[in-house]
Symmetry: D2
Subunit: 339 residues, 4 copies
């Protein structure tokens, strides 16, 4: 099912080259101010344009189909659609015979018996992250509206690595730009790592076991195309630490800890310390560089160069998507916890 | 909610020192042979006893409350309980004042307003992974019963690292045993990494976006206490690779790939190649070694040595739990895909 | 939540006078032939036009936003919208002060803190049954595509009573037309009873207890605005029968029964006999006739005549909606049972 | 699935002659006082003993498996079991060949391929309403604990008709006792109608469309074995009324109405007036009186007298079950609305 959430439910729909893509949001509280303008900052962050991103341009204007009246949410299901405009009438039938490595062409054909919409990746297109960003915008609004503490929830994601180069160290910008340039010249692609930190969360959000905060966050983060891994707090490094190093000792009556190896989560629930996680994005699958792969119609190996407009590093566009994913989970948990 | 799954639903319940813990399984097909004996191999793998694991011993015999008749599943909900036997009447009230670092003591107190059962960690105890293993046993049976191909699904998890030492290389056993001994002597603990490989899966299981195979697997894996990260295929390394390195080119008409950087998943769905993922476990939180932490009743820092019987490395006991988690997801997907 | 179903999931959205209303269908199998034309017969049955129905006219053309490609379902979520065209710019603010008796004006105001869209009843409009009919069309297609027996499922609903007059008896047509005329002249409205019979169902669909066929059917039937009761087989009359009268004895090895007092359901599951149920619809709430009711802004009683275009007997338009409701449940059960 | 609810989730399990039956409750808030004693009044109301009910006696003592500590709910999943004691080792294999009319014997055999537990009706036994009553007890506690108004929710169900005789009118007790005696003498059975009224509900509980109060209530009420119909407010009579008769006009600023034909619900949500519904129960299916039905093993008609201990009128035992069903829905809605 393309639906996520319990009390704030998000459903995405659409194909890359169909008339529109969209998102249906259920459980949005009534009375939250919401206009098209509220979406544009996050949509712009996701948009292509920077070096290393696809030149496909869309206006990406959200159209409210339902759930908004006089610039406020009504409480009824909120549907938003984005028209697909800049679609190219390229021939995608090649990928029925020669499925692109790293793409869903092959499995979609198996699963949907050849009936999936192949144009631009159809429902599997990265363009479907746009409705996710829209759901994140509304989620951030829900979080802001739910705040009673005066310390609103703040979600900030950013790139930590591009092509293996940490971005935060001085002088590294030139380095990863060079790596990006080189990949583009070679018709190749590179990956990246996104870190996300959430502050202002009350302790006690989430559930033990199946609805742990990590479970819910990883569930939605792996819904973003191209994610290969997720870790919380010390993450994989924790497996190489001693308990005395990894444990976060408490230092105040508010539950603040001296360290944050748990990434702000104990027993599946937020502990009031910053929620911290990192997400690994693979390099873009679509590359111009020649790949030797199988031609299913001919029954033999063949050469494939994936034509079209690609991101050399789509990870560059993902921080706002990761933020949206986190916001969706947290809005659901905050609405649930309000009980 | 402590429930997971769509067509095969697993709910766990119980506290470490209550009368029993258990699992309720809904959606189990009728007519699958099932007896107590079927559970014992996996239960024994999870059981304590080896060096580095707790000396707490339980008989861990499953008792069928419902859903089994004349050694076959009936189709009705299947409830299994495990009596708690070897419980010690230790005083856990200390941890109300001085919550154990790395444990849920603090957040459970906040969330459940001081009413949570503190004995042995209550509902947050690692003992709750026993019902998960039981759910995995039934899931493996469902997978075997669903096989029409003659190539049944095989799930195998094992330790890849203990305390930072890869276990598979020659001579490393002595090394990690030494690390383990040292941690035990110091009253400290170590973590580990578990790898899991699933073969025999048909292509096309899972869904795009929110019910991707990675989403479902990570969801349940993070329900296992002490998990800090999960990665699929090339995992975090993929973020440092080029597309031409990471992409899995096809080499046969059955969809076999030359490499498996995607870990057997494209577009959220299995592609017929082995499903491969790795899970990072933190070091055990309960350590005898003195920790300087906060005393909430006194409002000042204090010294804490966590008494009791602990695993120095609970990761040693987790491969069968990871297998169970994978089996639960895959049984659900296989039942769903049978449509 | 405005979502229903487990393996075939239906979500409706939209407001009567917003840009569009729609439905999102998840879990539709791939490869089912589907075009706009397939919807028109059922949409026409629901449409106004006959005596006793509102003169509001809409073209009610379904627009596929997603999930359909080259006239076949793709397997991806299927979104259909219907533009709202014939909306009148009437002033609905009166109903904030003087909520219409029998309508949701009052409760929507309470629940959604005055932010609900008041125009034409907003999300509570009977117009929202149009997406339900669309979901029913697709459900009927799923049922047809799932048939392996050569005896496809057939769903037929029809009016049994209008204004207390049984419609099936000779000469009664003139009688209920007269009752209808009279109600229209008086600015009043009348109700009706719809019966529904489903044949061709395999035995064993549904679940004991919470997902019994009766539970699922009644759940969705009461989602249709204006339903006051539902009964299966002998229904309320069963409460006045003896066991020896009400019990359905078996008469063949296929499970056929001599009578059908259970309405084709035993233990929550279909028994292979025709599924039979009846639904009671109230008279239309919006009436021109003067009602003495409360003015919340003035704090005193007032006279209200509800202006606008109303059905004198909206029950006339409901048989196809009841069929859709049944089809949705049965498509879900057939997909689930295919496991 | 044998699970119901969103934020208060109820799962039942067990078979009539297995070791125990039980209920798993998820989402119970922490800190609610709860002991075995709290269950006994409602359990006694459901228990057999009165004229017309089965002489099978069980102690029906609830055993807490989890979720209760020091006589308070902990917030963790709450499991309660009831041991099956007074089971008779009667031979149920007859009913494989000659399925009892009105029972699930036939459909369970088809659905579960002959593997269902046949003893005492197995999972389909009316005994499974005992866990439902237990879930209702906890639900009533949740409702009481949630009250902020000083006007707590009150749920009262009672018999309105037995064997077609209204019970509330003077002199009718003797009449329905005579009808009951006669049915018992003839080895036959009779049905009844239960009415339920809920007061003290805040307006605005429930959702438009699929999670309307009527949808949720009817869903769970039809999970009770033997229900044939449900109606709200004026119910089926509404179909024979005019709008001007059926509409409930408002008479106060609190939303009170002059009449209550809608049964306290508008647009799927409570309107603050008493919630009123009626449930029709069929006569008991198990009758001693000879029935002419099909012998599936012989392929011919045969005579069947169902042996054993039966309720001549199980409807007598159902008011507390109907109350429990209502309490479960309302507790879920109150927890959801608290957001």
């Amino acid at each position: 099912m393309d639906t996520f959430g319990r009390n704030y439910r998000v459903s995405v729909f659409g194909e890359s080259h169909g008339p529109a893509i969209g998102v249906l949001l259920d459980g949005v509280p009534a009375g939250i101010g919401l206009s098209v303008h509220d979406f544009m900052a996050d949509i712009d962050r996701r948009r292509s344009g920077a070096k290393g991103t696809t030149p496909r341009k869309e206006s990406d204007i959200p159209h409210f189909v339902s759930g908004v009246y006089e610039d406020h949410t009504t409480g009824a299901p909120l549907a938003v659609i984005f028209r697909n405009e800049n679609t190219r009438s390229q021939d995608y039938s090649l990928f029925r015979s020669v499925p692109r490595p790293g793409h869903a062409d092959f499995v979609a054909g198996v699963r949907w018996h050849g009936f999936s919409d192949p144009r631009g990746g159809g429902h599997f297109s990265g363009r479907l992250t746009l409705p996710l960003v829209a759901a994140g915008v509304v989620a951030k609004k829900i979080l802001a509206a739910s705040d009673r503490s005066g310390h609103p929830v703040s979600i900030a994601a950013g790139l930590e690595e591009i092509g293996g180069v940490p971005v935060s160290e001085p002088g590294h910008e030139a380095l990863w730009e060079r790596i990006l340039d080189q990949a583009m010249q070679e018709g190749d692609s590179i990956g990246g790592i996104v870190g996300c930190t959430v502050t202002g969360l009350a302790p006690g959000l989430g559930e033990p076991f199946f609805d742990s905060v990590e479970s819910l966050l990883s569930h939605i983060v792996f819904a973003i195309p191209g994610v290969r891994g997720i870790e919380f707090g010390d993450g994989f490094r924790a497996a190489r630490m001693k308990g005395s190093e990894h444990n976060d000792v408490f230092v105040s009556s508010r539950g603040e800890c001296a360290t944050n190896g748990a990434g702000g989560i104990n027993g599946g629930m937020t502990n009031g310390n910053p929620l911290v996680f990192r997400v690994a994005f693979k390099p873009t699958s679509s590359i111009r560089k020649t790949q030797r792969t199988f031609d299913f119609s001919q029954g033999e190996m063949t050469d494939l160069e994936v034509p079209g407009r690609h991101d050399a590093c789509f990870a560059l566009r993902t921080p706002v998507i990761v933020e949206a994913a986190a916001a969706i989970v947290l809005a659901d948990l905050v609405l649930t916890a309000a009980r």
